[in-house]
């Protein structure tokens, strides 16, 4: 059994390595169709794969995350070893990765939707892998429902495109989409926005994300948060940038606003949630928000024909996509390690892990630093790029209304950064430092080696992408030159900022040198002064675990000072009324609701088949 499992994981890792190589090739600027297969001869139902530069980054991300998750899964599997269908988890992950690759490589509507649906269904199944735990099934269903709503909107967008272009081929769309009547373009844009932002977790369509990510096995959460939600970004960029070249100004405005609101709100929610995986899930929303914010700014600049600025913003969005994907994958692995060691991820029940599992905790701390945008890690590089893009835009439009918008975008960025630092500090300070609050945390031990290797690989990669950020951004910029039909060099004035290949490494070396010098000087001057260990000072009394600051305690000032920031607005004003309505309706259909997982799966597949048929028929009627 163990052998099977290692074999499956190795296979996955190899496949992912291949995907990474493919992505790297795409980043060379290659763009070609490399595989075509007729599902039904002489029909438009083709499976067509094609690589192109934009997908390169996402493929690399998928590959790297996949490799990490596969390695991680070998050790993490112990957590699930007692299950009968343990091997199914490995296979599920393999299929999940294949499905995501299919989405990224798809060259026509059918391939894309097939991959998209496969991705959704497999991820749904993986999310409810632990379906015996109370509440998990409900959360999984929220995911399934939301994802199907999203798919429906995507189908509508594609159908409209098909109606006007008589083609299902993406290349055709790219060629003629921007010639469609503006109203039609807008309809397509809105449908794509709803469809993709549901998957990307943009507010207010994010509700499934903080429910689904925490309950999935951790390496599945990794792939979902690190990669899957990015495939939605890829799809969205394909539609609005590659096909429509940015579209109307209000498109970008809408996207930027949604992104900014998502970023701040989700970051505030992340700063006050108590489950580590839930915090990470909210943080995925806020990062996607920032990425969409930059995308929106890029769209606006495209629409205003300011291509260098647009490219800069796009580059920032993509660079953050890469960095977020990387550290979030690894962070979920870290959260999984905590679950593995303590069987809880509630901050209020952890504490003291830095002493009981130091190797894991140091890797985790690096990832948290990256997440909180501390130099010189990847998260910092990504944020600097976004700052550069937004401040350059603000400077460029200083005397116009767009300048004000850019300043607001900058404010959103800073608030999100500060809230993220809050969340990261909480996770580490409450979860890993201090004394254990519960027996479970006290008895924590280091996790299996493969899990630690995956964690450390993630930590190293995020450090490398921080230090070598300038090189990677340059490669990305080169690959993207010429997308949307425009040649766009990156503004050269930024050579001193994140695009300077020396700054961040210099800072790193300088700080390291200062630290070591301080240490050496003190050693030389004072010799080895003695160090003594005594209990933490509690004003002359004894200490109990109940005196540890709790996760809720650390976020309470936020809740008190800005209650609005910490209220789940979408849930209160959108979903709860909608849910109430659905519930009222659903009571009439109680008969078909058996509560059995298998019957839900049947419904799900039925929906997909139905949707595909609609696509086929809808395409054929015209």
């Amino acid at each position: 059994m163990k052998a099977m499992h290692v074999l499956a994981s190795t296979l996955t890792a190899l496949l992912c390595a291949a995907i990474t190589a493919l992505g790297w090739t795409a980043l060379q600027g290659v763009s070609e169709v490399f595989w075509t297969y007729h599902v039904i001869p002489n029909s438009p139902l083709l499976i067509v794969f094609r690589i192109q530069p934009l997908a390169g980054l996402f493929l690399c991300l998928l590959g790297v995350s996949g490799v990490l998750s596969a390695i991680y899964g070998i050790g993490y599997h112990n957590e699930y070893r007692t299950r009968r269908y343990g091997i199914l988890l490995d296979l599920g992950i393999l299929l999940f990765i294949v499905a995501m690759a299919a989405v990224l490589l798809a060259a026509d509507v059918f391939t894309f939707m097939l991959g998209w649906e496969a991705m959704s269904v497999i991820s749904f199944l993986l999310v409810i892998y632990d379906h015996r735990k109370p509440g998990n099934l409900q959360s999984g269903l929220v995911y399934a429902i939301m994802t199907q709503i999203g798919s429906a909107f995507l189908l509508v967008a594609f159908l409209v495109l098909y109606a006007y272009t008589r083609s299902l081929n993406f290349a055709t769309f790219a060629a003629v989409a921007h010639t469609l009547p503006p109203d039609v373009q807008s309809v397509i844009f809105l449908c794509a926005l709803i469809g993709f932002s549901t998957k990307a977790g943009i507010m207010p369509l994010h509700v499934w994300l903080p429910r689904a990510h925490p309950i999935a096995p951790s390496h599945v959460s990794s792939l979902m948060s690190g990669v899957m939600i990015k495939t939605a970004l890829f799809g969205f960029l394909t539609v609005v940038i590659l096909w429509f070249g940015g579209g109307a100004t209000w498109w970008g405005l809408t996207v930027a606003c949604l992104g900014g609101v998502s970023a701040i709100t989700a970051a505030a929610l992340a700063a006050r949630a108590t489950g580590i995986k839930q915090i990470l899930a909210y943080s995925s929303i806020d990062n996607m928000g920032l990425i969409f914010l930059c995308t929106g700014v890029a769209m606006i600049e495209f629409s205003m024909r300011d291509t260098p600025l647009a490219m800069l913003a796009l580059l920032a969005a993509l660079w953050q996509t890469w960095n977020h994907g990387l550290f979030k994958t690894a962070l979920f692995h870290g959260a999984g390690a905590i679950l593995y060691a303590t069987h809880t991820d509630s901050l209020n029940r952890l504490g003291g892990l830095a002493r009981s599992m130091p190797k894991t905790s140091i890797a985790f701390s690096i990832l948290l630093l990256s997440w909180s945008a501390s130099p010189p890690f990847g998260g910092f590089s990504g944020e600097w790029m976004m700052f550069t893009a937004l401040s350059t835009a603000a400077e460029h439009h200083l005397h116009g209304p767009m300048g004000i918008l850019d300043v607001i975008a900058l404010l959103a960025l800073f608030f999100t950064a500060a809230l993220t630092a809050w969340a990261a500090l909480r996770v580490y300070g409450i979860g890993f430092l201090g004394q254990p609050r519960t027996v479970a945390a006290r008895d924590a031990r280091e996790v299996p080696r493969t899990m630690r290797i995956a964690l450390w690989m993630g930590a190293t990669l995020t450090l490398v992408s921080g230090l070598a950020g300038a090189f990677l951004i340059a490669r990305l910029a080169k690959a993207l030159t010429g997308i949307a039909g425009r040649v766009a060099p990156v503004p050269s004035a930024l050579a001193n900022g994140p695009l300077s290949p020396v700054t961040v490494p210099t800072a790193f070396v300088l700080i390291f040198a200062a630290t070591v010098t301080a240490w050496t000087l003190i050693r030389l001057a004072q010799g080895k002064t003695s160090t003594r260990t005594v209990p933490t000072w509690t004003c002359g009394g004894e200490r109990t675990p109940s005196m540890q600051y709790s996760g809720n305690g650390l976020s309470q000032p936020l809740e008190r000072a800005w209650p609005l920031l910490a209220t789940p607005l979408a849930t209160q004003w959108l979903y709860r009324p909608a849910y109430a309505w659905v519930l009222r309706t659903a009571t009439r259909f109680r008969k078909i609701q058996s509560g059995n997982v298998r019957s839900y799966l049947v419904y799900l597949f039925a929906t997909i088949v139905l949707l595909l048929i609609v696509a086929r028929v809808g395409g054929g009627v015209r």
């Binding site: 003695s530 003594r532 005594v534 209990p535 000072w537 002359g540 009394g541």
Partner: protein, 190 residues
């Protein structure tokens, strides 16, 4: 607000010179403690930087008020670099007041343990010095001298006046700087 700022900027210095303060206490002229302090202010790590942590071991609050008085502008212990600190980790001197009650014996030990070496303990007040009115009862030891914590300097008085306490602190500053062992050093009375 402006009147307050003006008032503050024109407040005269109320601090009394050390010579004057000590004239009631010191027997010799010139006061050797002051001479020593002035000569060595630049030497030795504890001159001009002595941080105190107060440990009440069961006093009647009079010693506390006199300790607090050290910080008022008239005595201004800060001019000697003497200051009270918020954590025993930052302290050099523990000031013990009171006859070590049963309920506080453990707290005294914990505080001593929590203070980094080199450190010294100053016992002030009759209760801590073992000459208190009450002496030993079921609830207190009656002295800090045999509490297991090495007392370096004692300042008697019920309560000792602020200048006397200040002299005790200066004395401790000198002993700490002299590299004198902080454990088992003979107790010096002021």
């Amino acid at each position: 607000m402006w009147s307050l700022i003006r008032q503050r900027l024109t407040t005269p210095i109320a601090t009394e010179p050390l010579e004057e303060l000590f004239s009631h206490v010191a027997t010799e002229e010139p006061d050797p403690l002051l001479v020593q302090w002035k000569q060595n202010i630049r030497r030795g790590p504890f001159y001009g930087s002595l941080h105190i942590r107060h440990v009440d071991t069961g006093s009647c609050n009079a010693c506390e008020w006199e300790l607090t008085a050290l910080l008022n502008p008239i005595y201004d212990a800060q001019r000697l670099g003497i200051d009270f600190v918020a954590s025993p980790r930052h302290a050099d001197v523990l000031v013990v007041t009171g006859g070590v009650t049963r309920n506080l014996a453990q707290a005294l030990e914990l505080t001593y343990e929590a203070t980094p070496a080199p450190k010294a303990v100053l016992a002030i007040g009759a209760c801590a010095c073992g000459t208190g009115l009450l002496g030993q009862t079921y609830a207190q030891r009656g002295t800090a001298l045999d509490s297991g914590i090495p007392i370096l300097v004692t300042v008697a008085g019920c309560p000792p006046s602020p200048p006397e306490i200040l002299r005790g602190l200066l004395n401790i500053m000198t002993i700490l700087n002299g590299g004198a062992a902080t454990h088992g050093h003979a107790t010096t009375a002021i």
